[in-house]
Symmetry: C2
Subunit: 384 residues, 2 copies
């Protein structure tokens, strides 16, 4: 044997309160669901689990569409699925860019010969429907890509009415709800969204690795008539057959991850029991309370307009003289709370603090505000 066996040493992992923009801690029942038995992908219990997931996804996206399923990959695999199935080579994708996920959508789209138009705004704000309509009217794109919640900036985009605008010009509306789903109101059908993807490790308080997606009837029609090919792994036509979206098919496409199937099913079950309205209310209330406490500290909101602030991720600028890494390290070590630095447009300009899913409680908001107050007090002398 030219390569001897390595000595992989098990080590203790300290659990912290995860209050970055994701991943979030798990619901206890979701953690339990991870250890349910591995079952055959040919048995009735397995099909039942997939059916439950599809029912749960319809609920959380608020859609009656049948073309809903989960991609076996991270949120980025959901993004690549949505873009590649709906926008072919030489077709135009308009990207409404206000954060790093829009940059990511650009990176994805460049790989497929798609014509890309980017419309940028300041990173601490959101788009007006009027400016989006102007862009759509000029470029008549096949699709508009926009993020609902943006975890790099801490903003939430108003989407109501945008579907109608898109459809007036024959444009499909593609939406990223990775950091908003379950934490902020979202209505796929009522808002005319044509394709949406999300992820489990944010406000759903599940593990990453399995990503809900949904397509409107309009999007399904486009896919049906498309001539271009998608990656095999993201081929929604084949995946719809595996997930039995139209009845009477249980074709094998790839092997799903049973722990993630059980975990996603449990996340959706949790949310169905709590109800979306109550979950949205809880997130709004917790973050309102956190923001009230923050306002008593020498911190500044990166997003000036309260209406643009995302309920799941708050971006906060430190006063002059403080170092972002020092504050993060202090909060981690003294308070066992993980918060994140800025990223992309907020790098070195903001902390990113996520209060979502299982962590969206008054107690967590208070612990975070206490930790920040303590850090600001403890570190001020050393950094001035």
């Amino acid at each position: 044997m030219s390569i001897p066996p390595p000595n992989i040493v098990d080590f203790e992992i300290k659990e912290t309160l995860l209050c970055g923009p994701g991943p979030c801690n798990l619901w206890p029942s979701v953690r339990e669901a991870l250890t349910k038995p591995i079952i055959s992908p040919l048995c009735d219990e397995y099909f039942k689990a997939l059916d439950d997931i599809r029912t749960g996804i319809k609920y959380v996206f608020q859609t009656k569409s049948n073309l809903v399923l989960a991609i076996s990959g991270s949120g980025h695999s959901g993004m690549e699925t949505v873009i590649t199935n709906l926008v072919g080579p030489e077709e135009t994708l308009l990207i409404a860019n206000r954060g790093i996920w829009d940059e990511r959508a650009y990176n994805v789209a460049t790989r497929y010969g798609i014509k890309i138009i980017v419309h940028r705004i300041a990173h601490n704000t959101t788009f007006t429907l009027e400016e989006l309509e102007r862009q759509i009217e000029v470029y008549r794109p096949t699709a508009l890509f926009i993020t609902h919640g943006d975890s790099s900036t801490g903003t939430v985009q108003k989407l109501e009415g945008l579907g109608d605008i898109c459809h007036k010009y024959g444009t499909l509306l593609l939406v990223d709800t990775v950091v908003s789903l379950g934490g902020v109101p979202f209505f796929m059908d009522a808002w005319g969204v044509d394709a949406v993807y999300s992820s489990t490790q944010k406000a759903l308080s599940g593990p990453a690795g399995i990503s809900p997606v949904a397509f409107s009837a309009r999007a399904a029609e486009k896919i049906k008539n498309s001539k271009h090919k998608t990656p095999f792994y993201f081929d929604i036509t084949l995946l719809a057959e595996q997930w039995n979206c139209y009845g009477n098919t249980r074709y094998y496409h790839h092997t799903l991850s049973p722990p993630l199937v059980w975990a996603l099913r449990e996340c959706l079950r949790q949310l169905s029991i709590e109800t979306l309205e109550k979950s949205w209310e809880r997130h709004a209330k917790t973050t309102r309370h956190f923001h009230e406490r923050v306002q008593r500290l020498p911190l500044e909101f990166f997003v000036p307009n309260p209406e643009h602030r995302l309920a799941t991720v708050t971006t906060l600028a430190l006063p002059k003289g403080y170092n972002y890494d020092d504050v993060i390290k202090y909060v981690e070590e003294k308070h066992k709370i993980t918060i994140f630095p800025g990223r992309g447009p907020t790098a070195d300009k903001s902390l990113r603090i996520g209060i979502m899913g299982v962590n969206s409680t008054g107690a967590v908001a208070d612990a975070l505000a206490d930790a920040l107050a303590d850090a600001l007090q403890a570190l001020v002398k050393s950094s001035l």
Copy 2:
């Protein structure tokens, strides 16, 4: 709310002995590892876990290459990663076809403008190196795709010496080890394999959803000089930066699934503790015993030549008059053992019985042989 919350009812899942071609049951320590804490993807423990996984993958593939990591998806995502990173549009891929995974490779390759040559043989045998060399000499392909173990036919392909043949003609050797890794000897470097992928839910006894891949220096060079673009999710250049393959980079590419990271790490730790040699011996011994017992039953091996038979998956034809589904159902209901029907070339011609990973023991082999004997006895009258 136009879509009311569904009533997702929790249900008991009966655990069976999974003796199909995969998924396999989990090592107890792997099941435990699934519930380790979710941690921040920016912390040292996380980086340590990824480093451990890379070390373990080098060991199981027997390679010194640094371009090793795990794809966040099923084995099929590993396949698509290997093909798309190494074979560009207008380049030629030779597929050595003896089962359904080779059909799958064809399906993947057709999506990228790749010229595909398929060389087929009878499904119950394997390729000689001579016939492969003749094909390579004629077509001078960019790469040869071949499966090591084939779970649809129950065959194992001799690979030793194939790398040298490929390299003589400037061809890269791409190998699927999904159902062989850990159960059958495999030596990436010594056999001159240029790219290999595997999966966790077979002889590694882990959950599906995270797939080890490795690329030789020759393959890495090809990727470096490639002009064509890959899907974002499978872009090995970006993934190598996320996985710190060349040191000094920990770039964010996508969010890994913590339970699967811990589980894969534990699978590799288990195998490092047992050692590859002992695991290969164990699989060989268990299957030898199972085959001895099977020979006393009125069953026929689908693969006539014992040297072509895979140690992890056995394909067995029933005597005339028996119905495959009846036997499978009987074994499931009476003995709580899940075995699989044939697929592709073995559909309605064979049972597919997997004894691998945690299940590769004399006791499981005996239980299976007993169950088959019982089924043959119990069902003979009703089906004649």
